[in-house]
């Protein structure tokens, strides 16, 4: 009997299995209820009592060996044969698509600016899109007959002859948030104000009746043009790369004095041109007075830029309206 066990062990050890059918044959032959191993156990009763322990042990070893061989062969076959050779295991079949979420390119552009300003120590503030005349114009030093107050440029939401009812407009810039911030916060103030603004203009590839701006304000004792310049330069370097070519030049805004504009060189050395990217300046003392900040004690700088314009430059988009069509074929380019 022990000889039979040794022979069976040898047979199992050398048995080769190369495919699933052979594996099944192996299982039927050795491991099934009527298989050869199980049959041996049935015969255990006829083994002399003194040998039973040794034979039983040998039979158990045979059973374990058969199971081990089966498992090994099965693993090998599953890993190689079954998956790569079946039709449904063909890895080159296409996979179903999975829904991909994405941020709008304007959000991406604003996020990038926020990140930069965060590094520069600025927080984020916001204000309403429906704004009163005081915050949108008067406090920002727009004279009463300034062309920007004309109906052509500004959407009015409420107009009243009652002196206690202020005219309401859709804000034409994010600068009113500066005023709100200064009204409610004691300097030092260092904040950016991103948001949606409106102009009552005809729609064309270059202009849309709403767009987005990011405004920055820094108010403290002794803030100077030198600080403004340093911050602007750091910003454009972080936004456009440290080798960006830039220049500052005088500009004009009612709410800053002096006012500066910044251009960056766009395109190749030879065929490029200067492109205006932002307007800035030192907060006009009249603005401080309107917002209740002591203009003798504090100075400050402010700057603003159009998000669409920056996104257009960054991604080479040729029509501003594309941003508001929400074509998936456009949006998915910003996955």
């Amino acid at each position: 009997m022990l000889d039979d066990i040794v022979a069976l062990k040898k047979e199992i050890s050398t048995y080769t299995v190369t495919n699933l059918e052979e594996l099944e044959t192996f299982r039927l032959e050795f491991l099934s209820r009527n298989g050869r191993v199980q049959s041996m156990f049935k015969n255990l009763g006829s083994v002399p009592k003194e040998d039973r322990a040794a034979v039983g042990k040998g039979m158990n070893e045979v059973k374990q060996l058969a199971q081990k061989r089966f498992d090994e062969a099965k693993t090998v076959l599953e890993n190689s044969v079954s998956q790569t050779k079946s039709a449904l295991g063909d890895l080159t079949l296409t996979a179903p698509s999975t829904p991909i979420g994405s941020l709008h390119p304007l959000t991406k552009t604003m996020d990038e600016m926020k990140q930069i300003f965060y590094r520069l120590g600025f927080t984020i503030s916001d204000g309403p899109e429906v704004e009163d005349d005081f915050h949108n114009f008067t406090a920002l030093n727009f004279p009463p007959n300034h062309p920007a107050r004309d109906e052509q440029d500004t959407f009015f939401v409420r107009k009243s002859d009652d002196p206690n009812m202020m005219d309401l407009v859709l804000r034409t810039h994010t600068s009113p948030v500066q005023i709100r911030l200064m009204e409610n916060t004691k300097p030092p103030i260092r904040s950016i104000m991103p948001g949606r603004v409106y102009r009552n203009e005809a729609v064309s590839p270059k202009s849309y009746f709403l767009f987005h701006q990011v405004e920055a304000l820094y108010v403290d004792e002794n803030v100077s043009v030198a600080d403004l310049k340093e911050t602007l330069i750091t910003f454009v370097k972080l936004m456009y790369g440290s080798d960006v070519k830039y220049r500052l030049r005088p500009g004009f805004f009612p709410f800053t004095e002096p006012s500066l504009e910044m251009d960056i060189w766009w395109g190749s050395e030879k065929d490029g041109k200067w492109l205006e990217i932002l307007g800035s300046g030192m907060v006009d003392p009249n603005v401080f007075d309107a917002a209740g900040v002591d203009s003798k004690k504090y100075t400050g700088f402010a700057w603003g830029m159009g998000v669409e314009r920056i996104a257009i430059l960054k991604y080479g988009i040729d029509d501003i309206r594309t941003f508001y069509e929400n074509d998936i074929r456009f949006l998915e380019q910003f996955n």
Binding site: P96, T123, R249, G251
Partner: protein, 802 residues
């Protein structure tokens, strides 16, 4: 404003090329918008001799000319009636570029061409085609003595120039003329400014025998100067005068009008020339009217002028809209012999109002609106009168009429070293600052180490405060030269606001849940808005340019539906969008401005196919439960899920945090879908971010909870209830009866069928129970289930399914 490089050079010895001049102008605040070459050196245009003229066989109005060019004789097709054999004419040979602009702005280059079947080797030119004048009545006939083949540019002095078009900011009225621009450049480049020599009349009078001038509205007309020129001969201007104007893009008119335009571009004073003999009663009255006035201007347009419009009148009535445009009647014509020249100062606001009302911006109104020098009028009148006399043979007398009811004196301003350096971040001394602004004609009244006091010339109405002077120093110093501050970039200890953090968490969560962000219009049309409620409760715009921009969106739904339709029309199979934006309504519960509630909302929307047909599965449409699952994911991401409940409110699911409504989720109605052309089932959820913000403030700070040590006990059961009973109602009872070991409820099967009786449904629940202190077994759970089922039986006549 167009600036001629050549003209600038009359006032300063510019050492810079036109391109460098333009760049310098930009750097001192006179921003270059465009620079272009004017005129041509006429290379390739030569003297030709017309040998023979014959009729073009295929065109009545064209002729075939055989022209001798010296080394060859060529055929040229010509349309001018005055061409004749024997003439010497200017011929632009093939390859020549002429100063004639095509529609795209480029210049014409002549090619050998066939005109109606006949070859033409060049062009016989008219005066205007060569930029030598304005005559276009026929070809230019040259002196018969000229030698054939001589280049034209050896015969005529050519009018070439570089024109720099600059943007003048509203604070710089002084720069709306060549002398003003030259002054700025002279200050920036330290060059001497050469002003033209201007004579002055010996007698300044209030009225003369020739004319009386009366200003009835001195608040609108501060000053009115008149100057007589008699016995003028109205004719074409000399070429130096025409060339200056043509280079700036103006059409020469006659010698008198051309001089007024010339002086305006030179000194910045708009002038008007009247035919003196047409002035009724020899009287000028400057006044406005209480009633509307109809008046025909030079451009032959009859204009209705609102009450308050300022007019120049003579004895019989208005002759000009002050500062904007003259009238037809007193216009200078070929028969004019005597001229009354007007040089006035009009209030900028009054002119702006009139020009805007008439939608008429003229070179004059452009300057008056910005505010010209209130002390320039007599000087400009003298300058123009002298020039008119020179070019028209007119006679001047020694009188100038100067009515000046409102005088403007120069103001005094002090610049202090401290404020200057504090604001610019520089270390300039007063002397250095003075050197920088030298050339601006700021007159120093007194100075010491700490400060300097100036008398500000009246051509700079923008300089009224110390800070305005600091800007002058800054812009002429060049901001690019200001050095970096010696302290570094600041550091902040302030964090982003909770609001900002919430907005970015919402965007992040939405993207992670597979939504694409859209940006839609916040201004929509009334027609679109009406679909979402009553217009009375919405916020509208009073003056939209088009009907598309009448109403501020009351919700984000329109934007989503529009974007979905847009994409389905472009072969998209499904959309999965989110948007964050502000919505508006009229409400007593206002946010910033009384009556107007402005809130930030977030919308999630699904429509169409979730997955397209694929070998792994059949096409699958989005279901409302996909949206519900995503919304649950959203609240989970925000850390709000445990406080969120939802109840069915008619057709929509209303979400609450505690007692406060956050928003809703539901189907887009068939009716609404139809209006947008949407076919697929569409689902949206919209929540108020402001309410979410308030909810988040109530959520305690996140704290670690130990992971359960003991396994959960799972129990399944199904009940049969009437179809009208919602799962939510059943779950509410289950939750309230199951006690605190209940961890979660899932619904794993919903069934309707004959086998359970019509009008009934079966819902199968799987409950998870967890006890943190022990492994639960059936003995502990069974009583709970019994309690739950009993209540369901009692409240809903539910029947436990076997």
């Amino acid at each position: 404003m167009k600036v001629s490089y050549k003209w600038l050079k009359e006032f300063i010895d510019l050492p810079l090329s036109p391109a460098n001049t333009a760049e310098k102008m930009t750097l001192i605040g006179l921003e270059e918008e465009d620079t272009f070459e004017y005129g041509s050196n006429l290379e390739g245009v030569i003297v030709g001799e017309v040998l023979e003229v014959t009729q073009h066989p295929n065109a009545d109005r064209l002729q075939l000319c055989q022209v001798n060019l010296g080394n060859e004789t060529v055929q040229i097709v010509c349309g001018a009636k005055n061409v004749a054999a024997g003439q010497k004419v200017p011929v632009a040979t093939v390859g020549t570029t002429l100063p004639i602009k095509l529609d795209d702005g480029s210049l014409i280059t002549l090619r050998k061409a066939k005109l109606r079947g006949e070859v033409s080797n060049g062009m016989i030119c008219a005066e205007d085609e060569l930029g030598l004048g304005t005559d276009h009545s026929g070809i230019m006939v040259l002196d018969s003595e000229l030698e054939v083949g001589t280049p034209i540019n050896q015969i005529f002095e050519l009018n070439t120039d570089t024109i720099i078009d600059i943007a003048i900011t509203p604070n710089r009225p002084d720069a709306t003329c060549h002398l003003g621009v030259a002054r700025d450049l002279s200050a920036a480049l330290n060059l001497e400014l050469k002003k033209p020599e201007i004579p002055s009349s010996s007698k300044v009078v209030q009225s003369s025998a020739d004319i009386s001038i009366e200003i009835e509205s001195p608040e609108k007309c501060h000053r009115y100067v008149g100057k007589m020129i008699r016995n003028v001969e109205i004719k074409e201007s000399p070429s130096w005068l025409k060339n200056r104007l043509m280079a700036l893009g103006m059409r020469p008119v006659n010698n008198v009008v051309d001089v007024t335009n010339y002086v305006m571009h030179e000194l910045g004073q708009p002038l008007h020339a009247f035919d003196y003999d047409e002035i009724n009663s020899k009287k000028i009255i400057v006044r406005d009217f209480e009633e509307e006035i109809e008046f025909e201007t030079l451009d032959h347009i009859k204009r209705k002028c609102s009450p308050g419009t300022l007019f120049i009148c003579d004895g019989s009535g208005p002759v000009a809209i002050a500062g904007v445009m003259g009238g037809l009647h007193s216009e200078v014509s070929d028969s004019t012999t005597n001229i009354l020249l007007e040089s006035a100062y009009f209030d900028p606001g009054s002119i702006r109002k009139t020009a805007k009302a008439q939608t008429l911006q003229t070179d004059a109104s452009y300057r008056f609106e910005r505010g010209i020098d209130p002390n320039l009028q007599a000087i400009a009148a003298e300058r123009a009168a002298a020039l008119i006399a020179e070019v028209s043979g007119g006679e001047l007398n020694d009188e100038i009429i100067d009515v000046h009811p409102v005088k403007t004196e120069p103001i005094e301003l002090t610049l202090t070293k401290t404020y200057l350096n504090r604001l610019l971040g520089t270390k300039l001394s007063i002397d250095e600052a003075l050197e920088i602004v030298d050339g601006l004609e700021l007159e120093v009244l007194s100075k010491d180490e700490e400060k300097v006091t100036f008398s500000i010339p009246t051509f700079r109405p923008d300089l009224v405060r110390e800070v305005d002077l600091i800007e002058e120093v800054g812009r002429l110093y060049d901001y690019n030269k200001i050095e970096a501050p010696n302290h570094g970039i600041f550091v902040s200890t302030e964090k982003f606001s909770e609001w900002e953090l919430l907005i970015s968490s919402i965007k992040k969560a939405s993207v992670e849940l597979g939504f694409r962000e859209i940006y839609s219009n916040s201004l929509i049309s009334e027609k679109e808005a009406e679909q979402f409620g009553s217009l009375d409760s919405m916020v509208g715009t009073l003056n939209p340019l088009t009907k598309d921009m009448t109403t501020l969106r009351p919700s984000l739904l329109h934007g989503f539906l529009k974007a979905s339709a847009y994409n389905f029309n472009r072969q998209a199979s499904g959309v999965r969008f989110f948007e964050i934006g502000n919505v508006f309504e009229q409400s007593k519960d206002f946010s910033y401005h009384e009556g107007i509630k402005e809130q930030t909302h977030v919308l999630f929307g699904l429509s169409g196919l979730k997955s397209i047909e694929h070998w792994t599965s059949k096409p699958v449409s989005y279901s409302v439960f996909d949206l519900k699952a995503l919304v649950n994911g959203f609240f989970t991401k925000l850390g709000l899920i445990s406080g969120i409940s939802s109840v069915l409110d008619e057709d929509v699911l209303s979400y609450k945090f505690g007692d406060v409504e956050i928003g809703t989720l539901g189907f887009v109605s068939t009716d609404l879908k139809k209006k947008y052309g949407l076919e697929a089932e569409t689902f949206v959820a919209e929540f108020s971010v402001n309410v979410l913000m308030a909810a988040l403030e109530k959520v305690p700070e996140k704290e670690f909870k130990p992971i359960p040590k003991f396994p959960a006990f799972e129990f399944d059961f199904a009940v049969i209830v009437e179809s009208a009973i919602s799962a939510g109602e059943l779950m509410e009872v289950i939750e309230s009866k199951a006690g605190k070991t209940l961890q979660s409820i899932e619904i794993f099967d919903v069934f309707e069928g004959e086998s359970i009786g019509s009008g009934n449904k079966s819902i199968a629940f799987r409950l998870h129970f967890i006890d943190p202190n022990k492994t639960l077994n059936i003995k502990e759970v069974e009583p709970i289930i019994n309690r739950v089922v009993k209540t369901l039986e009692k409240q809903f006549s539910a029947e436990l399914r076997g």
